[in-house]
Amino acid sequence: MEEIERDVMEFDVLIVGGGPSGLSAAIRLMQLANENEQEITVCLVEKGSEIGAHILSGAILEPTALNELIPDWQEKGAPLNTPVSSEEIMFLSETGSLKTPNAFLPPAMHNEGNYIISLGNFCRWLGEQAEELGVDVYPGFTAANVLYNEDGSVKGVQTGDMGVQRDGTHGPQFEPGMELHAKQTFFAEGCRGHLGKELKERFNLEADSQTQTYGIGIKELWEVKPENHQPGLVVHTAGWPLSTDTYGGSFLYHLEDNQVAVGFVVGLDYKNPYLSPFEEFQRYKTHPKIRDTFEGARRISYGARALNEGGIQCLPKLTFPGGVMVGCEAGTLNMPKIKGTHTAMKSGMLAAEAAFEAIQSNFDVVELVEYTNRFHHSWVRTELDAARNVRPSFKWGLWLGTLYTGIDQILFRGKAPWTLKHAHADHETLLTKDQATKIDYPKPDGVLTFDKLSSVFLSSTNHEEDQPIHLTLKDDSVPVAINLAKYDGPEARFCPAGVYEYVADENKKDGSQRLQINAQNCVHCKTCDIKDPTQNINWVTPQGGDGPNYPNM
């Protein structure tokens, strides 16, 4: 292909990703610049068509970091409208349920003072705050590649080309991406960012940490009957429909305006290749304790996103020459709290403070080690330390994991003198098809339970049709030769959006199958990149602005 002439723009700090961590970093940088009457340039790019378009979370917000960042958030109209008013944790069996008395709940699992929010709307608001402070916020632009200086340090990113056709040639609307250079680039792509994946490898950032483990969260937003609505109610469950050797559970949050967010998280270290997180979620809603909430209700949105579950022992090195990782890109989620917004925000703020200090001393530091120092002296570190043993204990199953969690969190208050290890990387855990039992999922009823396609429809996902497929395969023969032959094509089940489908191969008469990739359905959850047993799938950014358009998620 011909060499493309690319425009270049220079900034002091470039931020990749408009989620809580990236936006908090941008805001903190500008606040410090304004306080010190110093001019700095901060640019934030976001692949979604607008800020919040690709954001999906439960979500319960612990307002600690927000109180520090924008103490007058209430006056500024932050969309924190529903304080948590009551909460329940239940263990479900197929027909029954066991409620955990609140006295037995570890302190991390209490939610007094927290808010049920739409993280997408919260990010939209943060985006407005950032723009008002003078951040250049550019939604609709992907960071396609990392750019490096001759000395190997990060120079910035190149935004994605627009108008490339399916075969890679330039269409009539072709618009080349440009080079964004910065003294420091903050990578804030969220869990399993595709640039972060490259950086971890290139700078060997995980040399001293354990392998990250992940989960997939699938969420629906419902409008329920007023009589079934209790604003501020939080319900978490564990157990059914998952088997006890699979980590996972549900959340059900009553927001404002008769809306209920309901979702299901499955640890991606699950073993059975026949497991479908999507179907488990659909089945969960039919539980007698759950289904009543949705009687006569209407589903209004759907989406999915992978999340980090590894905790502090999986946190990579946070800095490298020319850049840093913040938020879920690094993996700051607190698993026992099931919350990551406050820690992500704080990590962004800490990186911003370190970067601003460096700017003031004329940026002679290439690697922002001060960020790491600040991180390890912050409450994020303390909090994640206390949380570190909960998730790995569930490798012993639900009951022992729960028992251990009680001991670790209540008896030791997270200060047990040992650190548990995660057993495997998530892509290594699948049993082969002859070792596993098929799971017979019930058919959707179209009222309470649905199929994938009608669900993806509600995510308002859109991809320009004529563009290269952004779910790339390292080797085209692997899906059929290994994934299908050995594991019976698990990607058709772990993808919550129906992207992967094994269909009859028209070119062969022997009834053999081929993998069809419906890239247009992709909701950018990154699960395939994580769980593909052969690690053959590599998720890259599609055209800027493409993907889901989540409202209120």
Partner: protein, 254 residues
Amino acid sequence: MKILVPVKRVIDYSVKARVKSDQSGVELNNVKMSINPFDEIAVEEAIRMKEAGTASEIVVVSIGVEKSQETLRTALAMGADRAILIKAADTVDTDIEPLAVAKLLAKVTEEEAPGMVILGKQAIDNDMNATGQMLSALLGWSQVTYASKITVDGDTLNVTREVDAGLQNITAKLPAVITADLRLNEPRYVKLPNIMKAKKKPMDIKTPEDYGVDVSPRLTITSVVEPPARAAGIKVESVTELMDKLKNEAGVLS
């Protein structure tokens, strides 16, 4: 020649529109909004005319809420020169009707004296398809709707229109109001530096009172409902069964 391009901020085409539970309208809060696709085509056409030397200046105008500024900025980033926002509504739920829009646009046209007004044939939110026609009537200008190709030759327009029977070629005299159809062009992608530059392009903010136009609604929306859900399909085993179902259940064959 100056070109005036009216643009509307509408619910984004990729968003699944949802009717509010009280049936008063479509839910627009926290929903992605963007420039009406047909208006975007109109902006693109004007820019191409400017690039070809036919037009000298492009003024974009929007009538709506404060946030319609974003829509105007999009048009400015594409290549329009300056913008006028007529702030006629406080909430996105207030839709300004075509006649009020046309009256405001007529006033703006009188003030700006463009040689041509190009606008989308309809907005994808309420599909009225009326503003362009009303505007040309108010101005007494030539009216050219559903344009899929426009060439300008002095003060003569040669336009290909998309009509039910196919394509119709017509000529008209300038000044004229042209409404853009889907195949007129494919709008460009906006360049990042141009978004930055667009922030510095001039934007006048006006109100309907400035033009002496009453925008209060003349229509009452009694209710908005979703189309009935399609019943699920079934698989039939044989042609006989299919014929039987078509005759006896669907009632489409006798």
